[in-house]
């Protein structure tokens, strides 16, 4: 299955891109697996990939929560925010 992964702000600068498509195989259908995969694909993300907040389809997930992913999901890496 394929998910879209979006990078913002400091994370975008680390990743060197705003967006990538990630293919997850078989049992890799969770956010924990995705974090691992992202570090493989973009080693510069290693310092942040494990602790960073993830949003799946525009909804925050809890830190440490391992969320099931499905084909076509949009996952965003959310560094500490500073709006307002």
């Amino acid at each position: 299955m394929k998910v879209k992964v979006l990078f913002f702000a400091s994370c975008r600068e680390l990743a060197g891109t705003k967006e990538i498509a990630v293919t997850l195989e078989g049992a890799e259908n969770s956010t924990e697996a995705l974090r691992k995969k992202l570090v493989e694909l973009l080693p510069a993300l290693e310092p942040v990939a494990w602790g960073i907040t993830l949003a799946v389809n525009h909804e925050y997930t809890d830190p440490g929560q391992n969320v099931q992913l499905k084909d076509g999901d949009e996952v965003a890496l959310i560094p500490p925010i500073s709006g307002g």
Binding site: S10, P80, I81, S82, G83, G84
Partner: protein, 161 residues
């Protein structure tokens, strides 16, 4: 949002504006924010009170001179979170209308990065709701800014509270 034909909050070409209810307006936009438009969006014959908050770019941070701020946002999720804020505010207070607009892109010193306007029949509700909206926005809405200093150094910022 400059005045003129086709320049209502819904018409901004590089922004998106969504009403969460017929009475609320939320938007993220790369156009300059316009307070009078925000107030007009919440005014009405039943409204005895309108409270607004403007977050504005300052010229210094930690002793360094700030040249500008650059805002970046996860726009669709930012709007969704802004709509949630409107709904939550309505659960807590009796409100007539809410309008929240956040700027993206380059925001110069003394320009507004965010404007919130809330109207209510009596003053207490709009005064309290506008505080709630900005506090919650800073805690939940996926928007980031970096500070660009004189000498061109830059830092991504995090909200303290």
């Amino acid at each position: 949002m400059p005045e003129g034909a086709g320049n209502s909050p819904q018409d901004q070409s590089s922004s998106s504006a969504t009403a969460t209810s017929p009475h609320d307006l939320v938007m993220v936009t790369d156009q300059p924010l316009e307070l009078s438009a925000m107030v007009a969006a919440v005014a009405g014959p039943k409204c005895g009170a309108i409270s607004t908050f403007l977050g504005v770019t300052r010229d210094t941070h930690n002793g360094k001179t700030v040249v500008r701020l650059e805002y970046e946002g996860y726009a669709p999720m930012a709007e969704k979170e802004l709509r949630k804020i409107c709904e939550q505010a309505r659960q807590k207070w009796s409100i007539e209308k809410i309008a929240i607009a956040h700027r993206l892109g380059v925001t110069a010193v003394e320009e507004a990065s965010v404007i919130i306007a809330v109207s209510s029949v009596h003053r207490r509700e709009s005064l309290e709701a506008v505080q709630y909206c900005i506090d919650t926005l800073k805690a939940t809405v996926p928007i980031w800014y970096l500070e660009v200093y004189e000498g061109d150094s830059r830092v991504w910022k995090e909200n303290a509270e």
